[in-house]
Point group: D2
Amino acid sequence: MQGNTFGRIFRVTSWGESHGAALGVVIDGCPSGLHLTTEDFLPDMRLRQGGEFSFSTARKEEDFVQIESGVFEGITTGTPISLRVENRNTKSQDYDAFRDTPRPGHADLTTFWKHGHRDHRGGGRSSARETAARVAAGVVAKKILHSQGVEIFAFLSKLGKTTIDTDFPNLYDHGTSQFMELLPTLRKLRNKNPLRCLKEDSSELLDQIEQVKANGDSLGGEISAVALNLPRGLGEPVFDKLNALLAHAYFSLPAAVSVDIGGGTKMSELYGSEIRDEIKQKGCDIEFGSNSHGGLLGGMSTGNPLWSSIKFHSPTSISQTIGSVDLKTGEAKGIQVEGRHDSFPLPRAIPVVESMMAVTLADATLANTSSKFK
Amino acid sequence: MQGNTFGRIFRVTSWGESHGAALGVVIDGCPSGLHLTTEDFLPDMRLRQGGEFSFSTARKEEDFVQIESGVFEGITTGTPISLRVENRNTKSQDYDAFRDTPRPGHADLTTFWKHGHRDHRGGGRSSARETAARVAAGVVAKKILHSQGVEIFAFLSKLGKTTIDTDFPNLYDHGTSQFMELLPTLRKLRNKNPLRCLKEDSSELLDQIEQVKANGDSLGGEISAVALNLPRGLGEPVFDKLNALLAHAYFSLPAAVSVDIGGGTKMSELYGSEIRDEIKQKGCDIEFGSNSHGGLLGGMSTGNPLWSSIKFHSPTSISQTIGSVDLKTGEAKGIQVEGRHDSFPLPRAIPVVESMMAVTLADATLANTSSKFK
Amino acid sequence: MQGNTFGRIFRVTSWGESHGAALGVVIDGCPSGLHLTTEDFLPDMRLRQGGEFSFSTARKEEDFVQIESGVFEGITTGTPISLRVENRNTKSQDYDAFRDTPRPGHADLTTFWKHGHRDHRGGGRSSARETAARVAAGVVAKKILHSQGVEIFAFLSKLGKTTIDTDFPNLYDHGTSQFMELLPTLRKLRNKNPLRCLKEDSSELLDQIEQVKANGDSLGGEISAVALNLPRGLGEPVFDKLNALLAHAYFSLPAAVSVDIGGGTKMSELYGSEIRDEIKQKGCDIEFGSNSHGGLLGGMSTGNPLWSSIKFHSPTSISQTIGSVDLKTGEAKGIQVEGRHDSFPLPRAIPVVESMMAVTLADATLANTSSKFK
Amino acid sequence: MQGNTFGRIFRVTSWGESHGAALGVVIDGCPSGLHLTTEDFLPDMRLRQGGEFSFSTARKEEDFVQIESGVFEGITTGTPISLRVENRNTKSQDYDAFRDTPRPGHADLTTFWKHGHRDHRGGGRSSARETAARVAAGVVAKKILHSQGVEIFAFLSKLGKTTIDTDFPNLYDHGTSQFMELLPTLRKLRNKNPLRCLKEDSSELLDQIEQVKANGDSLGGEISAVALNLPRGLGEPVFDKLNALLAHAYFSLPAAVSVDIGGGTKMSELYGSEIRDEIKQKGCDIEFGSNSHGGLLGGMSTGNPLWSSIKFHSPTSISQTIGSVDLKTGEAKGIQVEGRHDSFPLPRAIPVVESMMAVTLADATLANTSSKFK
């Protein structure tokens, strides 16, 4: 059965293996009239590759997104947008050892069980390389959202079990306008921080990562993402609540293990009396006394900042040896994953998380147009 | 846009409001040849209503599931199965005060923003009453899974922020066969415990809840759910990974705020070297040295116990007064939700969580049949 | 796999067997704010039952549509609308002979091959009885279309191979406004004609049918359906062109064997020079010199009358004996279908065809809202 | 809304404009283990380009299908198969005159109404060029079917209103085995006939076409397609009957105006007694006395040859001048479509029709796996 398409109105179909000729994405359902050029993809594609920080990856492919259809003279036509990224700089021979010997902690063995025949090179379809297609789709989704005044912003919020404090306390309590004002400052701060957290100085965290790397080991953590200025009423209960759609998107990311949406875990720890978000009149409009529910009520957007966070497990491609089995011979084999692997790849995942949030919310925005009779 | 259908092959369409004539579910895609009678629904429907424990709900409707189509002489025919539950014992006048005044912490206001016109009685479509339809669908899904030897089991794992210890330590480390052996004991223990946790004695927790109730307040918590003996390779990457499908289902439940799947949060806190689950030969088969990944690799099932947990926020229907606004007049109004509401409804949610897991896994099982060329 | 849902935004899920307790339809995706009461269903449900003409069916169930959800105080709420029709007056014992002996020319044998176990009574799920659910859904769809000024109209256009002339020549050449003006007259004429053709006097055709009936035989024919005043640009190429969606809907009807859409067959018989529909300026708008293409260009609506016709094969439930086989014993058995069957059921199919057109076009109208960037 | 994906399990997403850099198709849901190389695409792609017959097109692009993902070492992996065809030999300047002046009888104007901004070059997305992607997808679908012993075969059956007799009378009455035996002969005959009809000598028909061409005019006609040796029980009533799925696919083709499936039109013209297909025991199996229903009963396959035919309107790109309007200035403009256009393109559509049938049936075959409980 197929599983490589996401969305209902704005539909994204992803294709491609890590070491194939290319990978890409077909976006069907993007409205006509949106400005789109190859330049639009550069910032997020670069962010995904680590930007100026050699720290975050030893692998250096330069990713350019070709637009092969759906755009005419720089403007979308409403027909499918085919985006394509060539795979360069692939070292397939690095993977010869894993052709018949699955890497523990990877999709190698389950893919074998599911499909029998598989492309073992670079993790094939299960490689994080595939997220390049998602980021490309996210750029288009962000443009749709941007036109509605909606902004998406993600940042590193945990390193392993350590919550990373930010230079901006009480960010979770900010209202939409306060946050919107702060956003350019936060983006700048994040983009110059190699860990993509909201701190001027992250040297201690960097030391911790270097130490882990020196041990041939790796670290997980958490990324938080917020959407600002969303229209009210997005999401289609009971099954396609906005949080359900977002969780689907987030859990489709490699190594995702836990997702909080809206108020998240703390809402399960507080008393009912503490999380009710009083409703108040404000001029001709309604406002909430607080945003405990993190931008959602009953699975629909309130217009307040919509919060979410995703925890990722630590990478299992590390240089320490571990036992596996040759599937052809049945012999035990020690495996050591050498080469260009990150000890802490979460900073590169920032635009990937943003893209999942953007694709989901662009789709939800388009889906919401038919909720009321006119 | 529609949002009341879940699943791809085994598709569940839910309908009905809290105080309407009835509610129900249409299951399309259930294979023919499955034994199914109205009696099959009784145990889970009763569990959802609190079973023998008056503790867990003041509302006492008796829920009977009528089978209106898709079953002939006690066996499914492969045509849509329409299940219907009548709403009785509804006290709609209790809700007159909320007709124009949305209850804080509920879907009232976002529903109004989305649709304008709404059924305010008992929360309408957003009522937890709707989960009766899910439980009915879950019973059919469980029968499909059961025929494949798959078992689903959920229990209360947290009360507020307190992790509830079980009388069976290291449950998370149990292998499939060890867990299967223990399962009847665990089910019996859970079903006689009013909180649905895995303890003989939960008097301390019950005292805590009584205290909160006396304050006119409420509590949230966490339910854990495990699937045993799943076939290997379920799930369709990249977007329809098994964890993504499960998270979609879980987050569609009322009050869900956080979901862990597979190894969950702890996988983001440990080093890569700690979570790799060595691969070993065992006779003619493969086994894993451990189950850190909680039954999933790359979004596909490994055959090991598949773990998940869902956190729910504390109920916002409590007797303490809170401010709201009359949407017609714009006047501030204090709201006090009287009547038959639970301070801690999670025990009743046990079969609901199981039904979401069962529906998702039954669908994934049927979807997996076409993954290999024969 | 499931196959009982149609539509993308406005989604209709049909359920029920001919001799079960009830049948029905769940409509998900209907916008809120639409007036809807049980009375709205009466005219089309009666038309489906033959209206005042005893001619058209010997079976007399009275079909009342219950609204079980999605409507509050007479107005839709945007939540799923569950419509239910009880089955009365079923004579299941009439079908005992066919329990193991499939009726030639029916779905009995293919259903057996597909599902093994089946409800043989009255054709089970494959009975034309199921179209009652479609008509109910069509009533809601028509209300959506009506609010946009769109009208749907169907009539009998062929009896067997005989084209039925109408009292209104050149109907196919009428423009939108001319046709709209004529519509009340056409509806009145059709509704008082027992064959639902557009003639004052159809006595010759009725004689022909009586003759066939006397022979214990049956007749097929063709129904034509037109949509007036459609918005321009409906339909989503390349796969979901408006004609493709309509053809899908029409061919899902029992006994459908051929479908023409737009200009239809004659467009394949004329020269290219004869069917080009010149484009002309008319005031501030564009108009076409003719409507050869029948309301479609490139699978999208032009705003001109959208034409379609569906041919149905003659009923295979007739009183003449035919050979079949007892599937349990393998013995040859002669089958004679007695009882209340129509020799020419097409007049009753008029509202069924209209409902398929309405459901498709309501969905296409809602789907079109996101085609342009705003 | 999106409309460029077809299928439920075996899903085909088409993208690309006539004069863009490339066009292609992503196939998601193809099982792993299928042999597939670029050579497999050559025969059908060549057939679509007219084969050795200069007759059938003046346009000579050489279409090569690149496999960009989903295949490893010549075998499918179960991941999305991305197929890409570069557009060469495009003469975009030929279309400058139509930038603002829509061609009558084309999608130009409805596309403008739907999307506003469009790629006018070569018809953009509505060009028959897009069918190259469909043929590529069809090759993969045919391989799936072939492995099940299923064969697809299409041929020209009408030129304008003239039914083309074949050298093999009573083809419609052939049973599966008789037809299978004849198939190699029929394929050879068709492939060497420039019109793709089943005749040794089609000189009269060719003369007729030359005459029309000389007049600067064009001709439509009909293609018939048959599937042999289908498994019984394919198709999912009530909405996704096999005929409904096929009709959806066929009507999505450019210029399709009428579709017959199964017994087709003649079934609506005969008496019920003439079309009942007696059921008979044959050894341990069941057979039908005739195949009036053309391979379908109740929308499910019977295992007999499954017949279908599609009528296409005559091309509207002809050299005769016709009136249109400049959408920018509102001025009337005469349009004359010069250049490389076919007067009778149906022979090139043979593999396109086959591909739609193959894609639909491959999907239906995979969908049918979950119809019975095991």
